[in-house]
Structure formats: structure tokens, C-alpha cells
Symmetry: C2
Subunit: 453 residues, 2 copies
Amino acid sequence: MSDTTRHDRTAQQLRLLSDALDSGRLGPIRRLVNTLSPAEIGNLLESLPASKRSVVWGLVDAEDDGEVLVHVGDDVRESLIAEMDPDELVAAIGELDLDDIADLADDLPGQVIEEVLKSMDRENRERLEQVLAFPEGSAGRLMNPDVVTVRADTTVDVVLRYLRLRGDLPEHMDHLFVVSRRHQYLGRVSLGMLVTHDPATPINELMDDEQSPIPATMSEREVANQFSDHDWVSAPVVDENNILLGRITIDDVVDIIREHAEHHALSAAGVDEDEDLFGSVGRAMRRRLVWLFVNLCTAFVASSVVGRFEGTIDKLVALAVLMPIVAGLGGNAGTQVMALMIRGLALGQVGASNLYTLLWKELRVALFNGLLMGAVLGLIVLAWFQNIGLSIVIFAALTCNLLLAASAGVLIPMTVRRFGFEPALASGIFLTAITDSMGFFTFLGLATLLLLN
Amino acid sequence: MSDTTRHDRTAQQLRLLSDALDSGRLGPIRRLVNTLSPAEIGNLLESLPASKRSVVWGLVDAEDDGEVLVHVGDDVRESLIAEMDPDELVAAIGELDLDDIADLADDLPGQVIEEVLKSMDRENRERLEQVLAFPEGSAGRLMNPDVVTVRADTTVDVVLRYLRLRGDLPEHMDHLFVVSRRHQYLGRVSLGMLVTHDPATPINELMDDEQSPIPATMSEREVANQFSDHDWVSAPVVDENNILLGRITIDDVVDIIREHAEHHALSAAGVDEDEDLFGSVGRAMRRRLVWLFVNLCTAFVASSVVGRFEGTIDKLVALAVLMPIVAGLGGNAGTQVMALMIRGLALGQVGASNLYTLLWKELRVALFNGLLMGAVLGLIVLAWFQNIGLSIVIFAALTCNLLLAASAGVLIPMTVRRFGFEPALASGIFLTAITDSMGFFTFLGLATLLLLN
């Protein structure tokens, strides 16, 4: 493996920057910062506390400002925009591709967007307005309306002459799109085809019409699935009449995949993906409180189950010592099953037709693991408390709770999804609410039945 | 948003397949399956229980077999390979690109790899052997050695004539690489440049030599970071003498990003990413047991803390009822902090230079949230148990535990990383071990000090 990873490099840059900032020498910082790509500058800004971030942001080349704004999270973007005056902002945004402007539009002051629109020529303004008319998270909002189109009844030679006249192609343009007179999408021709075929070849012989275009209303998550299922680099976007509107390129899709993965990991832990590592304490507090309060409610449910068995615990305090083990192991076993289910649902691999096969498999895994872990736990408890009844109770309770956890792990994400929510987010709360409450209930309930009568 | 998502489509296909399989009509299944891309067939096979999977696998077009094997997880791949005879397998593998063969190599019987190598011409055999010599997870193992190279001292016209003679280009080839006489990498020329410039233009005027090539020893995780930082579609791979070895394309990078995200989500839950949804019960059991046993050990640590306070609980059973709340909320608050830290570490945004700024911020968030949640919890406890002392104890214990949880959330991933492990995997165990044990300790300890004397 390589010796210098991104982590090492950024850590090194951070150290250099910190030293330079502390000593007030801004020249070296400016040189360091402007050797980086906009994405790397964005990453660096996200790593800096507010005061240092502001100094470094002031040193970034004005021509990179727009691209850097594209590459940072919402909270950090807000803090950077707050430090720019409207003219700077209009200039920075004006440098960007149309799809990037559309991406930032919701975070910009209305007056800035108006200025940017005013500074554009009519064609680009209309294109941008068309993109902005689609809702966030749709293919229409994600697309770049900047496409190069050709007619099917022309030849390679004519197209090459047209392209030489036209000059530079937009970034990541690996295909030209073939359209009808009414701008309807017919197919695409790769640049690779153009350069490997005889100049006299008609375009319609080279045209690939197998890839169906993406409807502008498709969700960005589905766009990402289509790209990775078909190994696309770019894809045409059409409206409901098959009129070509723009194209989506793989670099935007990579960003979506990364964002969704981050969103998944953070939302499962109850954090907002846009949270700025060095943001204000008040904002971080408010954002996390919601989730903590939900957890307080579910914790009270579990706690009230324990409350019903106060009398039992009063007679045998060892129960209070052991009850967290039964609840905790149930939660962990259920989390394993649920993680597999959530992935299966995201990939579309689990549905009504195979749900019961899956549930049956998981119940068998839970039964065997429950019997085995229960036996080990039972033996340890026997050695610790010298109480055979308690040992049998914890053995039975653990097995029951693992069976329950497996059912909950399979059924909760399925149910959450059926109600139209994202399985990862809410499932964790429900799962621990069930494994905790039922873990306490089976353990203390069995103890009441078997040990106190 | 679109009406038919991938989930809906696959679910529909699954239903159709299930019905067809139950009725034994194989013709419709064959037609349905062979309209799908290899990635989609792979996804479908992963959704089927063993017996049905075997029937459907037999119906897949032989020419798609290799591509499907590339697109499934390790466990499912093993089950599919087990059903093919060596000749079929050699034929299927022989159809693949060199980088895909390299990708499968570790899962194939040695005799099959030998047969495949024997069936190749000398050039391809040597290239494949070169790729296989690099360790799994490195850029060298990921690259496709199939590149098109040109010389810097030639012109656009000469290159176009060469390409027309050569014929079709490899997939995702958006750049030609410019090399020296000794095959050292000098720069690259995009197809877009070739088609938009005058035929007489010298190649060295169009050559982009700014993108530094990827060393074959770079880790695939770092390759993915480079691609997404620079919005690349393909990148050259070189050895330590700058000799061009091959190229890496964005489709493989997308797979890496997806795999790493899945690995992250599943390993944090204690599941192997290669686990087959419908694999054998015995294998699933064994894989999950390891993690459950680790959790059993940490649960015993927490439980032994409770054990030290048996006397206190014996005098006030309400403590047993309330203690899971203090421990649980600490665990959740710590998980929030840890999720942010793990993302920050993965992106290289957290290092020694900003660790204390971050810890200080998280301690303030924890203090304010602790005081607020503690006050709410204290009031509820006062209403429930009518015991002002108990109410003050739970208020203080929760605040302490949230402060501890924030410190653990920041410091554990940092420490795990320093010891060279992946922060996501082990951090969760340590965190709950600490928040549970310390939650019980502060709550029961304070109760012993303040309520029993």
C-alpha cells in the first residue's frame, strides 16, 4: 500500500497550516492552499475551527471560490457565503457550470441568484431556469443542460468538422447525442466511435440506441443505481415527450453515492449529515437533542417494564445485576440482522416473495446462537451466584430474546419501509425499544414465575 | 420522483420469477433474465434462496456468466462457481477483461486460472501475471493493463489514422496516454481534444501533463479519494520508474466506494459484508458468534459494576428501574459524537492539530445537553418516585455520563486509528462498554454517597 494516504497528507497540511497561521505568515499558506484542487480546499476548510477557516478562505484564489463552495457541506457553505460580499459571490457563481449553479441555488441569497441570471445570455438563463424548476433530488435538477447534439443523417466527417469549428467540449462529454428535428432523443455516438471509424461512415450506423434515456423525474438515488448497474459515464436526460433536456455525468453520481453512504451512517447514529465539525455549540446541541429525547421516551418504556417487577428485584438483587446482559445481547444480535436487511432492501433484494424464507433462516440462526450463548451465560451465572434456578432463567430468557431480536431485525425495516420512511433511520430506535423492553420482560417475568413461587 | 424505483422493479421481477419457478415454466424466466444487465442478474441471484438460485443460474446466457460472477458478493460467487464445471468456468472467465479476471482470481480454483492463462496470447498472459503480482486492494491489482499509447512528437492526423486502423477502443477510454520510447508516462490527450483540434496540431501541444499518475502501490481507498477529489473518469497507473502499466476507470472506483460504504455499515453492526442473505445457517451462525461473544464480555464488565452496588439496590429498588436510562442515553449521545469523528477521520479532517478544539466543543455540547436532559429526567423521576434525592442523583449522573460519552466518542476512534485499526469496527464495542459501565457507576455511586448515608 502507499505510504502517504489522504489522511496523512491532510494531517500534514493541517499541521503546516496551523503553524503558519499561528506565526501569522500568510504567504506560505496562500501558496500551499492554491496547489490543491477545489475539493481538497473544501476538505481542508471543513477541518478548520471558525477563526482559522475565515483566514484561509480569504487566501483562496477568487477563481476557485465557486468550485470550493460546491464541494463543502451545507453548514460550512453557509459560513463561507456569510463572509463574501454579494459582488464577489456573483462573480464566483458566474464561473460555474450550470449544473453546479443549480446545485448551490437553494443556499444563495435570492438577490445573488437574480444577479447571476441577469449576467447570463438568454439561452443559458432559460436552461438554468428549466433546471431550477425541477425539485431537489430529481434527475432534472442534477443534469447539466450543456449538451452537444448531432443529426442521424450526417457523416463522421461532417461531425468532426463541426466539432473543430465548435472548439472545446464540455467536461466528461464522452458521447454526442443524436436528436430528431424536434430535439427528441434518438441515441448516442461515443467519441471513441468517431475516432475509430472512416470519415464517410453515416452517424446512424454508429449510433447506439439501446441505452434508454433517464426521465427528468427519476430520483437521484435511482439514477445512481442505474449508473452503477450499467457502468455508465454519462447518460441523457429527457422530458415526458422524449425531448432531450441535458445529461448527467458520473462525477455527480459519485458525489451522490458518497453523500447517501454518509447520510446513512450518520442518520443511523442520529446526526445530521450537514453538521459542521467545528460549527456552533448551540446549533449542534439543538440538532442532537431531538434524537436524545426520542431515546429518552423509549428508555422510559423499557424502564417501566423493569418498574413492574420491583417486587421481584427486591427479593433477588442479582436480577438487577444480570438484566442489562440479556437486553444488550438482544440488541446486538438484532442489529446484525437489521444491518443485513437494510442492505437487502436498499439493493432491492428483499421483498414479499422471499421474506418468509429469510425470516425462517434468521430464526434458526438465532435459535442456535441463543442456545449456545445462553448455555455459556448460564454456566457463568451458576459459577457466580451458585443459583441453578437463576442460571436456567437467564439461559431461557436469552434464547427467547435472540429469537425476538431476529424477528424484529427482519420485520421492522420492512414495516418502516412500507410506511414510506427510510429503513435505516427509524429502525434502530424501534429495535432497541423492543429488545430492551422484551429482554427485561422475559428475564424478570421468567424469574418471577420460576424463582419466587 | 419516478414511480418505479429499483426496489419496485426488482420486487416485481422477484414476484414474476417466483410464480414462474413455482409453476416450472422455465421459458419465460429465461427471457426475463436475459433482458437484464449482468449487474442486475447478479442482484437478482443474491435475492434468491439456494434452490431457486441454482435454477435461474442455469438459465443465464453462457456469455453473461463471467460478468455476473464479477458482480456478486464472495459467498454467492462461491455458490455459483460450485455449480459450474471447469470447462464452463474457463470459457466464462476467458470472455472477461483482464482487470475483471484479476478481480476474480482469488476465488477461482488454481487449475481454472492456469487454463485461462494457457488460452491467452503471450502479451495478455504476461499482462495478467503482472496484475496478479500486486496485492489485493492495491491500484496495481485494480488496473486494466489494456491501454492505447501515442508519442508526443506526432500529430492529431497521424493519431486519428492510427486509431481508424486499430478499430474499437477499450471501454471507458476517454484519454490516450502519451509515453516516451521507454514507455514512461508523459501525459494524456483526451478524445475530446482530438476531435476538436486541427489535424495538423502536434500532440505535445494538446497533452495534459498536470495529472500525476497513480503509483501501482497506492491503496484502492486512496485511489477512490483521488478520483472523487479530481473528478476523474480514468487515470494512468505507473510503476516506481514511471513506466505506464495500465489504467483505472471510474466504474471500478464506483464499485469500491459502494463496497467500502457497505463494509462500513455492516462491520459497525458486526456482520461480514460478504454474507449471503440466503446462505447456510451454520456459516451465518459462526460468523456472528465472534461479535456476540465480544459483546458478552463487555456486558459482563458493565454487569460487574452493578454487582458492586448490590447492597445499594437492595435498599432502593428504584435504582434498578432507572439505571438503564442513564446508561442508554450515554450510549446514544456518544454514538452521535463518534459517528461525526469517524467521518472526520475518514475524510482526513481530524488530526492532532485540531483534536482539542473539537473535544472542547463536544464537551460544551454534552454539558448543555446533559443539564437540559438531566433536568427533564429529574423532574419526571420526582413525579414518579416522589424522592427529591433520587431526582438530584439522576440529574447529576446523566450530566456526568454525557460528558464521559462525548470524551469517549472523540478519543476512542482516534486511539483505535493510532493502533492501526479501522475506527468504525472496534469503536462501538469500546464506547458502549464505557458508557454502560460508567453510567451504572456514576448513578449507583452517587446514590450510595448521597442517599444511603
